[in-house]
Symmetry: D2
Subunit: 411 residues, 4 copies
């Protein structure tokens, strides 16, 4: 008789891999508790619960985490204009620490000895789950059945059939997908040659530039302390605003990303994403920051934004550096208030207008009109001092006069 | 009788300001030598020469600097993905040190005691001219008649008429323009309210998204050591390639930029640019770098790119830091070889394909197919070590378990 | 009769320059109010007050600012290990914004139209005063009589005698000095040749290595949240702790600094400082941070420390970037608790012991003894993944085998 | 009969671990070739060769690598002021890539199938060897017998005795040592409590402050392009200069380092080093840079120096980022020429004089004497522009006047 090992809490999507994982873990002596979280991926939680219990789980938790996802993960990322390598808005990366947190909580609630995820051995998500759980509860063991079992796709399907697991149509899909409120990630074989353009059927929440409407649509997004609070003047909670904007911007083809990305585990990978809300909101937020933050803050913040994105991407969400960067960012966001007009059209989200009561743009300094308040004569002294180090440098390092032979001169 | 002060070499565009400056300098005792440079702004050099001499200059130099501009200024900027504040491709900023260099050369050739430019006291260009000339020849005095003369627009026009200077239609234009191969800069009164969208008639070398063709156009750009050498497989010199691409990309509405920019002289200013070639080439170049540079190089280079842009923007082109950054960048560019397919459509330049013999993308590591060469089991040890510092941190700083009250749980 | 211009508040040290300034400002129509602040430079406030009134001031404020200086300026700088160019602990730089703040406050209290300082036109302090006051009250005019009056030293002394100002012995001193709790700054002619060693009589609060005692002295400094709270186990307020440590460390020759420093106003300057407390406390604080902060925090904080020092040095104390960096730093300091043993001996402050309840040093991981808790086998997978990008890079860029000719090989 | 596996090249110090490794590898079917390198650790190469062959090696290479070590590893590190975490001069870290290079060369020369090192599973050196060899020859297997064999110290000694390996006195030493020209690294049990001061008998190449001579000694070090070429005016090759300076500075107690260091493999470790030459030369080099490099170069170089040190520390010596940083650094070093006077006394290396024909220190700008060439009036305009953004910021964000209650005011 098999040794009983206690309970394991499995992050359960209800797809083939995690369904097979339920059985595979049971066969190894675990009582399996599943956790299915709604982070905006249009999941039917009750269906998943039923399927889990039917597959053999001793308990099936389902949770609507959309609100917590937005407030504790998406908004901090937006305030930091979080883009890994300047390009990827971190959508999947942001959901992993949240799900890890809830896995740890359920494990505690159920007295489980381990948690489990359905990731393979070459992705980023295994790192994010395992590092986050190690941070949240160092005592918990983390299992990775999909990484361990060495099934081929065919063997996995046979195993599923043998164990009465329904094998859905999705196993035929050439695409591997992860989705949440902040974006949708797509991987597939055809993408593995970077010269190939991404096939159109890979996308779901955005249309192509070609079929996008022939008329632009303007939206006005209002921010308070760096967070969007209203769309076209209508106040909205974060979940609603992101979903609404996803629909509008996606319909104009906005938010597609196609990149070669450096994975933490040591190689480059072609990745395609659809992130209509993220792309639109980050563009608007960045523009509003140019109006409300000083030059020095903009420059230093940009460096910290890169660190923020690296931390989120590599599983270091619950880390002291992340907390310290949040403190810096939050201080800057106290002044990021105002409204941004964004034109959505044929794949582009273009900022066409900015207004803010916290603006440090000063018309009277900038203007070339008669209201000009800038002291032009101060510029003379300024330039003299500004250029002095360079003048001194060149006096110390005399050079031959520039030769001019390749230039045609007429005089 | 007026004291003779010697020769001054004036950077001369032939517009109202620099024409008036010729007379104004003559009245102050200088013999004026003008220098008119072609940096791709479609200037008629012979016309300018005639106008200069007619206005009273003792000599009028005209120079075709397009080739030198591309090779010594634009290509280094492209290799560094030079964008001030991440947005402005530095077009005007790049031409100033070149013109300064030629002013210094003509001054030497003519035995002049000073050089002069036509900038006002609140722009960036005065800084760039004066700092560059101070670096190139610390003995030369730099005059800035427009900054000094305190004419109103009306007084300036009256002065011009009195001195027989033709006042062209351009003085009625609401726009202040600077143009070269790498882009076109536009300032005007209507832009001084950042909530106003930029008027369509401000643009000249790009169409609007709305009137751009309904069919996309692909171009293939081939790079060698970070520099574009062929368009659609046809080898071209740099000037031709930039001009050709400006035409194609501009016709698809690519390259418009509208931003609030932090000037060195201490205030924010609304700036609008059209840079079809710059935007397309930088997008292609950056994408090719993701395929041919390592993760660490990409991250460090990004930081140095910001420094590069600041140096170019603030007049520090001929500086030792700029030279050291060039050395770093040039080392990295040895491997930036390959071809990039860019789709130009309705204002967007989208990279849709990459290929390179210097690629460090490794299909066999990235693939999820059977050719997978990645050692999945190594990930286990990797994650253990990667997460160890965070685990240790959290063991030292025990926290209460996460409360979960706001989340709806069903199980 | 002279036009009355209103009141001006003058930062008044009571030395020759500021005494002359009182008269000079009076002659220009101002009623002069003086402000003399004690920031730890052993000033006799009542004497200064008497001298000011005698010289003609209409009112003379004297303030003990030592406590505020430590809490609002020195401690934030210590938490940020504030050292300009990695070397200068910012002593004078920290007092300027505080004095500016009080100048602005007195100006408001007195209804003054201007404030004034006694700096020349080439130092840093003029920048710090004027930028800080511009930030604190943009309406206040700032006067700089010493910068304006163009007296030679002799003319100034004659003027003083003519106006009944006592010319003290200090005017014969070859040294220009600024002093406060955090350190003492020395400038003089002999230092202007960087090959000259600084003369011994330039120093006042530290002895030379040569005459320092032949026996070392240990001190134990206890920190809470990055701030020193006890010396050798005795709790102390900040002012007392700094003064006590200044005495002890100075007596062992600790704290002398001799450097070429880049001034904001565009040139390099030889500067000598004595900062016994600053050097000892920063060494101790940094060491404690290696025990209580993570690797990533240490690295990112080091970059921000450089920015912090630049801001303090260049007059940007009251700036939004400074506030955001403070927020980052304060977050990190929550864990900087513990005790540091420092050996003071012959000019050196050497950390010889560290202990902390917030330590993230983990003996069981670090030990080579049998208690070793580190999983050695995880290292194998870690190294494999860690080295993978470089292996891939080199596979893509095959090189010839290393030639070995210059090495003597015997086998 | 045992399967023959081919040749393995073992990095062989001749101590207990690597001697046992010879036998252990032979037992697993390898023909062992040893490589013993002289990198300045006072090794008797011929003795090591004899011992290796006697233990059973089929061939024993011995190499004097001192010159190559200095030129290709130490000098680049000095030019980059290479200090890991600002403190450790990378001594052991620099020798590993060199030894790896020679292991790869011998492996090629001998047709070996693998190389081997004697590191454990928790140090840095395993990473450096394995990553470097993976970069230099991705086909070579790397063995780590000490990491694999799981001997206790006692079992290892028994095994050694059984195999006729001489067990020297060093196995009784409480210290684990690595030494080369650039420094000596010490680890031991007593150091594992960071509150313990390091025992005096741990040190070998430096005396304590207490017993150092009571008279200081000045040395003058001359640099060309960032590299020391003469000591006290006497030209010397690099190896001789470092050895000579090690002796002089060590005799004055200079070069001891005691730190908590963050290892790449995820934990903090107490490390003690003696690096008399490194500490003295880096201090001199940094000081000379303050005289010969511009402010901007100094600041940017400091950031890159941290990256350089991280790369060297973590095994990324042969990496593209390291090459690009070298290019930056080499460009800056073209001007780092001159002579530095360093006073060595009681543990301190203090720079007391600097002179350079490449100096950008300008006496006429810095002086307060009558030769003053600085334009004081330019400062007025400069400060006005410099402070403008802050003034604008504060105008946009009006604050209540500063309260002043806690300050004692008398007037």
């Amino acid at each position: 008789m098999m040794e009983k090992k206690g309970k394991v809490v499995l992050a359960y999507s209800g797809g083939l891999d995690t369904s097979v994982a339920v059985c595979w873990l049971m066969e190894r002596g675990y009582d399996v508790v599943t956790l299915t979280a709604d982070v905006g991926q249009s999941v039917n939680l009750e269906e998943k619960k039923a399927k889990s219990l039917q597959t053999g789980a001793v308990a099936a938790y389902v949770m609507d985490l959309k609100k917590q996802f937005v407030q504790e993960f998406v908004w901090p990322a937006l305030k930091a204009n979080g883009m890994y390598q300047g390009t990827y808005p971190l959508s999947s990366a942001l959901s992993r620490p949240l799900i890890s947190q809830q896995l740890a909580w359920v494990a505690k609630n159920e007295g489980a000895v381990a948690v489990a995820h359905g990731c393979t051995g070459k992705g980023q998500d295994q790192v994010r789950f395992e590092v986050a759980i190690g941070a949240l509860n160092p005592e918990l063991e983390v299992l990775a059945p999909v990484r361990d079992w060495h099934f081929s796709r065919e063997a996995e399907i046979d195993y599923a059939k043998d164990h009465g697991i329904e094998v859905g149509a999705s196993v035929q899909s050439p695409y591997s997908i992860d989705e949440n409120l902040w974006g949708r990630a797509i991987e597939c074989g055809a993408l593995e040659d970077p010269w190939n353009e991404c096939p159109e059927d890979a996308f779901k929440i955005s249309v192509s530039q070609e079929v996008a409407p022939d008329k632009p649509q303007n939206v006005e997004i209002t921010f308070e302390k760096g967070i969007p609070v209203a769309l076209d003047g209508v106040s909205m909670d974060g979940v609603s605003l992101i979903l609404k904007l996803r629909e509008i911007a996606g319909a104009h083809g906005v938010g597609r990303i196609d990149m070669l990305e450096d994975r933490l585990v040591g190689f480059k990978s072609r990745e395609v994403y659809e992130c209509p809300s993220a792309i639109t909101l980050i563009a608007a937020h960045r523009a509003l920051e140019t109006m409300t933050l000083s030059k020095e803050v903009l420059a230093e913040k940009k460096r910290l934004e890169a660190s923020f994105a690296d931390l989120a991407y590599t599983g270091y969400w619950f880390s002291p550096l992340k907390e310290a960067i949040d403190a810096f960012v939050d201080k800057t966001q106290e002044n990021v208030n105002g409204t941004v007009r964004v034109k959505l059209f044929k794949g582009m989200a273009t900022v066409t207008g900015l207004k803010s009561l916290s603006s440090v743009y000063n018309h009277d300094l900038a203007t070339y009109s008669e209201e000009d308040a800038f002291d032009h004569s101060a510029a003379v002294g300024f330039i003299k001092v500004w250029g002095l180090p360079l003048k001194t440098w060149k006096q110390a390092h005399k050079q031959d006069p520039e030769k001019n032979e390749s230039i045609s001169v007429s005089c």
